[in-house]
């Protein structure tokens, strides 16, 4: 018996009970769509968090000064030192670039406009290591550093706030109580998230970059903060050292050496080390577990759909015993009967699979609508959700589509085989007499 004919016949008998077939298809549809949806949501979440980590630079190692707390802190100097920096640069050959950063909060002024910003002393390598792009002008140069010039590069937010209409290049901006001439303006840069205990979230928009040598010369290591109810002195040489490793494969080994080198010269817990690559590896592991977990949930719903198919096919076999007898009497072999019932269950599952794939592909669209609707109906609850979930963009995983479809076909065969063989095993004489 030809396959085409078998398929047409099974469609016909399925259409005899449209509601029943439709509900069975719905079961598979939900299973297949949920495979695609759950994988897309999992991918969306993990891609967002991986992107945040990757923004720190996969080849970077970041050391950061942390103000020590506890009894053995005597209130004197703390944190990373210039000699830490020298030592790292001179002793570890796998470090391609080392970037010392010194930063403090300062008020920025231009004429009558003012803004609380962050003064960052650094070196010409800063844009390359931290992926900062310039909108106009130039960044700091080696000569700026050597001559300890009082020049600065404005972050996008600072330029926007102090020079809403004009061109800041060449103007003098007052930082604290000193003037710096603007030589460049940075492009907006996405803020990095705080990852790991040692690394706070950074918003680069209110930064002002100056040569670190000028920083040391003009501002010095001792920072005195005077505010109502707060008087504090901090003696810090370097706020942060960003290292870039020449080869991605050497990042983890280099990180170990860096840890040992720095630890040997510090008695207090006054610094932290963040290795984005380590976090990335961690995040991938979490993602894998996430995918397995979501996949299992989806698999369960597919099995439920499969049981639906089996249930309906068993009912169909009982109901159509007489038909089976007639077909056998007219010359149908056992395998013809198997093919007939199997093709019916496969048609059910394939139709469910196709519709499920369509439903799955609509996932990003539907989550967008759902989010818009939720924001209108429950604005308070939505705003209290974590950012990762509120801004979730499901990412369709391309391989999940053939996978979900294949699973649905397999489910159709798997759960169709038993009812079909049961139909084929019927004795034609008994089946013919069945009322």
């Amino acid at each position: 018996m030809q396959w085409g004919k078998t398929l047409v016949l099974s469609m016909k008998s399925l259409l005899l009970h449209p509601l029943r077939s439709g509900l069975t298809v719905l079961g598979i549809l939900i299973g297949v769509a949920s495979v695609i949806w759950l994988l897309a949501i999992g991918e969306g979440i993990s891609r967002a968090s991986q992107e945040q980590i990757a923004n720190l630079g996969a080849r970077n190692i970041i050391l950061r000064t942390i103000k020590p707390t506890g009894d053995d802190f005597d209130g004197s100097g703390y944190g990373l030192t210039r000699s830490d920096y020298e030592r790292l640069v001179t002793t570890i050959p796998s470090i391609e670039t080392a970037l010392p950063i010194r930063e403090i909060e300062r008020e920025l002024r231009y004429k009558t406009r003012r803004l609380e910003g962050r003064l960052v002393g650094s070196t010409p390598e800063y844009p390359e290591v931290l992926r900062l792009k310039l909108a106009s002008g130039r960044f700091l140069s080696d000569i700026d550093l050597a001559k300890e010039r009082n020049v600065c590069v404005l972050g996008a937010g600072v330029a926007e706030a102090l020079f809403p209409t004009g061109n800041p290049l060449g103007e003098a901006v007052m930082v604290g109580d000193e003037f710096y001439r603007v030589i460049g303006v940075a492009q907006p840069k996405a803020p990095t998230a705080g990852v790991g205990g040692s690394f706070a979230a950074e918003d680069f928009s209110s930064d002002v970059y100056i040569p670190i040598t000028s920083f040391w010369r003009r501002i010095g290591d001792m920072i005195v903060t005077r505010k109502p109810s707060l008087f504090q002195r901090d003696l810090v040489e370097v706020s942060q050292i960003s290292l870039r490793v020449a080869d991605k494969d050497l990042v983890l080994a280099t990180a170990d050496v860096v840890r040992e080198t720095v630890a040997a010269h510090h008695t207090m817990e006054d610094y932290g080390i963040t290795v984005p690559l380590e976090l990335l590896i961690q995040a991938r592991t979490t993602q894998l577990m996430f995918i397995i977990f979501l996949g299992m949930i989806a698999a369960i719903s597919l099995v439920v759909g499969g049981i639906g198919i089996m249930n309906i096919m068993l009912a169909t076999v009982t109901e159509r015993t007489r038909e089976i007898g007639i077909r056998r009497a007219l010359g149908a072999k056992r395998k013809d009967i198997v093919a007939q019932f199997l093709s019916e269950s496969v048609v059910l599952s394939i139709v469910g699979g196709v519709l499920g794939v369509l439903g799955g592909v609509c996932c990003p669209l539907l989550t967008g609508w759902a989010r818009a609707g939720m924001e209108r109906l429950f604005p308070l609850q939505m705003s209290s959700l974590p950012e990762l979930i509120r801004d979730l963009e499901p990412q369709l995983v391309t391989w999940s589509i053939p996978l979900a479809f294949a699973i649905s076909a397999v489910v159709g065969v798997l759960f169709g085989v038993y009812p079909a063989t049961r139909a084929a095993k019927l004795d034609p004489i008994v089946a013919l007499r069945h009322e």
Partner: protein
Amino acid sequence: MVSTETAFAVRVEDLTKTYALGDGAVHALRGVTFDVPLGDYVSIMGPSGSGKSTLLNLLGCLDRPTSGDFYLGDVNVATMSDDQLAEVRSTRLGMVFQSFNLLPALSVVENIELPLYYSGRFRRESRQRCEALAERVGLADRLGHRPNQLSGGQQQRVAIARSLANDPRFILADEPTGNLDSATTNEILELMASLNEEGRTLVMVTHEDEVAEQTRRTLVLRDGRLLSDTRRA
């Protein structure tokens, strides 16, 4: 000279059939022997429990005998496998049932085509042949109807057309008029007679004497044995 094998449509030799029933056994057929020559028109009669239905199942290749031989044309069906029996059913045999046994989901012409799917003889042009068969039984204007839109007599006509789909030489009918009124019975019997006249061999199980009288020869079964074999003039 025509060989003895092909001179007979059906040859049954010492056919027995025993069913296991609990500890004991039911001997439904206790050794039945007869021939049906090509082109014959035979009715089989007998009270219930005589082994009539068992013989019908064996002749219809739906079952295998416990012992004995059953030749359909020149092949011995008695020892065939399940798949071989199915093939014989679809290629050498047409069957007509008391309760018509049409598939309700299929139209008249699709029901007629059904045996062709299983014999593997379905072709593009088969549809026209099946329409011609419907016309032959007087249903040319009902091709697209479903069985439940037809009267009993019309349904039986469809069943007869279906039994002809594979153009078998041998047609087996199980009380084909049992569910029909007398006027329709006559129509169906005329149709059967016309099939016999074009050379097909017919075997019909019936319990009605008037129906049996329309055939050329009557076999009577009782208690699993052949009681009589009467040929009409």
